[in-house]
Amino acid sequence: MNVRKLLGAALGALLLGSGAAAADTVKVGIIGPFSGPFALQGKNFQAGVEAYMALNGKTVKGNDVEVIYRDLPAANPAQARALAQELVVKDKVQYLGGVYFTPDAMAITPLLEQANTPLVIFNAATSAIMKTSPLVVRTSFTTAQTTTPLGKVVIDNGVKKVISVVSDYGPGIDAEGAFKKAFEAAGGQVVDAIRMPMNTNDFSPIMQRVKDSGAEAVFAFLPSGPTTLGFVKAFNETGLKKAGTKLFAPGDLTQESDLPALGDAAAGMLTTFHYAVSHDSPENKTFVEAASKAIGNPAELSFPSVGAFDGMHVIYKMIEATEGKQDAAKAVDAVKGLSWTSPRGPVSIDADTRHITENIYLREVTKQADGTYINKEIQTFENQKDPGLAAK
């Protein structure tokens, strides 16, 4: 399916390439993990892009928009750079988009100025990326942005002592730092901070540590997928949940595509995040409908799709402002301060940081009448900027 689409896109690009000069085709290169262990995230990129183009047409001010997908299965900076270079030099794209992992984004940003090409990041969530080039715009989130409101939430839940448990890798350490800062500012105490090795399969010893620490709640951050499932199950089975210990986390842990597997084990878990597929708004309803059609299986839809959807919105606005001409600086200037209503709620591009300002929602994993689980939004923190950038 993916391969066929990619081939189709490549073929389309070739066919159109010959007549491009006359028809004014603006090409957009999207880099994402379309195969391999993270293929689901790439599929979501593609669904978001296709949904946007299905709803808003394939032309902007008379310029045809052509999307070229490039597959980068796992974090690989050297390959990311090579793919970006190829897109710019060979395929002559005017815009780059996508990018799931931070190291890949960091490898691409040094090229932008010379290539006269803006990069719109659909996911890669480390604050520092924005500093590496003035031609980067981001429509996803940062770990600090989604984690910070959690500090207050935990206090509001009457919890004063928390143990932080994160996977020992970049985003995990970011989350630990952001939570600690926010929680201690709100008057809480982080009694212990544990960093677990990435390939932990059995979490019982960690749960024993949690029990011994005497904390009233756990703050956790792990990469989504098998590890999260194991972690949440161990939390229940060792009796921590029953004993009343609460579990808080950023929404990465309960992304919609994992919820059917997590199921009852995660019920009641509180997370903060920028987007839930169940978000109640007319914009989101339209989006979910279009994106579900694009992705094929609605159960696979999760947050990267909305980053891609809004990313395409930004790219369309850039094309509009430059009237299809290649002018990266003008394009980026045009979207600084841009605000619109995204499927996730009201958002804007911060003029200083070029990072998205958005609402962060507190959600509870809730069972619906039909037996499926959703992230039910129960509280809104409006217009959150990226505190990670402000701090540095």
Binding site: P37, K43, D202, Q208, D212, G239, K242, A261
Partner: protein
């Protein structure tokens, strides 16, 4: 004291999970002398079948286990007949290339048909509940896994050491030409042994799914772990695999409890130390 007991219980339970998933590989590598990197793929196929039977068809856990084991053996029988039979007794490199290729094919096929999301195998309510064992609660399915591990170890030991089939299998492994000459149908012996190993892989994949969740990359993700267990225990030795699993489970669990920030340091340090002291693993036989 209670903490020590509690961590010890966790270590024991984790060790038994390792055992139940790795014993099939120990059998193929030790008794059949095939470096089978597709072992994880077989375990994963079992997991997928069980998930389909228990979750999508809703037939329950016990039928899921039986069908998963039977289904995986059936699916893999043609592999044995047409692929594995060519690599018995061939150089390891050939075996590694063929079996890693099979693994990639299985990953691609499952990804295509079942999608990249996690699949769960719903447990019956008896196993899903935490059980109070006096000083703490332990998940019901862990106790089940421990019981299964002990049963599998005992049954395998009996099969290999005490039955006519076991004698023929050991003879075939030691000298296939001579065994053939004595009138034993060695291809049949190999096919049956392979089926048993595949069945054990599937069984482990299903029972262990609570620890190692089923998804397409299962086949590669845990392969190193399985190989480490077999290497430390000594390929082909049931007792060796049990000892290796309990030792590694204990080191890993205690390491993670005391110093999680050291990561897998203790685990691999122990592996290096054990393999240096026992180059063939704890109870590996001289080749």
């Amino acid at each position: 004291m209670q903490t020590i007991l509690s961590v010890a219980t966790d270590a024991f339970a984790y060790g038994m999970v390792l055992f139940i998933i790795s014993i099939g590989l120990s059998m193929t590598m030790g008794l059949m002398r095939v470096v089978n990197l597709a072992h994880g793929a077989f375990a994963m196929i079992g997991g997928y079948i069980a998930s389909y039977v228990a979750r999508d068809l809703g037939w329950g856990y016990a039928p899921a286990i039986v069908l998963a084991v039977a289904g995986t053996i059936l699916l893999c029988a043609p592999l044995e007949r047409f692929l594995y039979r060519r690599i018995y007794g061939k150089p390891e490199l050939l075996q590694v290339l063929l079996t890693i290729g099979i693994t990639f094919c299985v990953i691609g096929i499952t990804n295509y048909f079942f999608g990249p999301t996690l699949k769960t195998i719903p447990l019956p309510s008896v196993l899903a509940q935490p059980v109070d064992i006096g000083f703490r609660t332990l998940a019901g399915h862990r106790i089940f896994v421990i019981a299964c591990g002990i049963a599998v170890a005992a049954a395998l030991w009996f099969l290999i050491e005490r039955t006519a089939f076991g004698i023929k299998l050991r003879a075939t492994v030691d000298n296939a030409a001579m065994t053939d000459a004595l009138g034993v149908r060695t291809p049949t012996i190999y096919a049956v042994a392979f089926s048993i190993a595949v069945g054990l892989a599937a069984f482990g994949g299903v029972i262990g799914a609570e620890f190692l969740p089923v998804e397409p990359y299962y086949a590669l993700r845990y392969m190193v772990l399985f190989l480490v267990v077999v290497t430390v225990g000594g390929a082909g030795s049931i007792l060796g695999t049990v000892v290796a699993c309990l030792a590694l489970g204990a080191i890993d669990t205690v390491g993670r409890y005391l110093m999680p920030e050291f990561g897998n340091f203790f685990f691999y340090a122990a592996v290096i130390a054990i393999v240096s002291a026992f180059p063939r693993g704890f109870f590996g036989r001289a080749q």
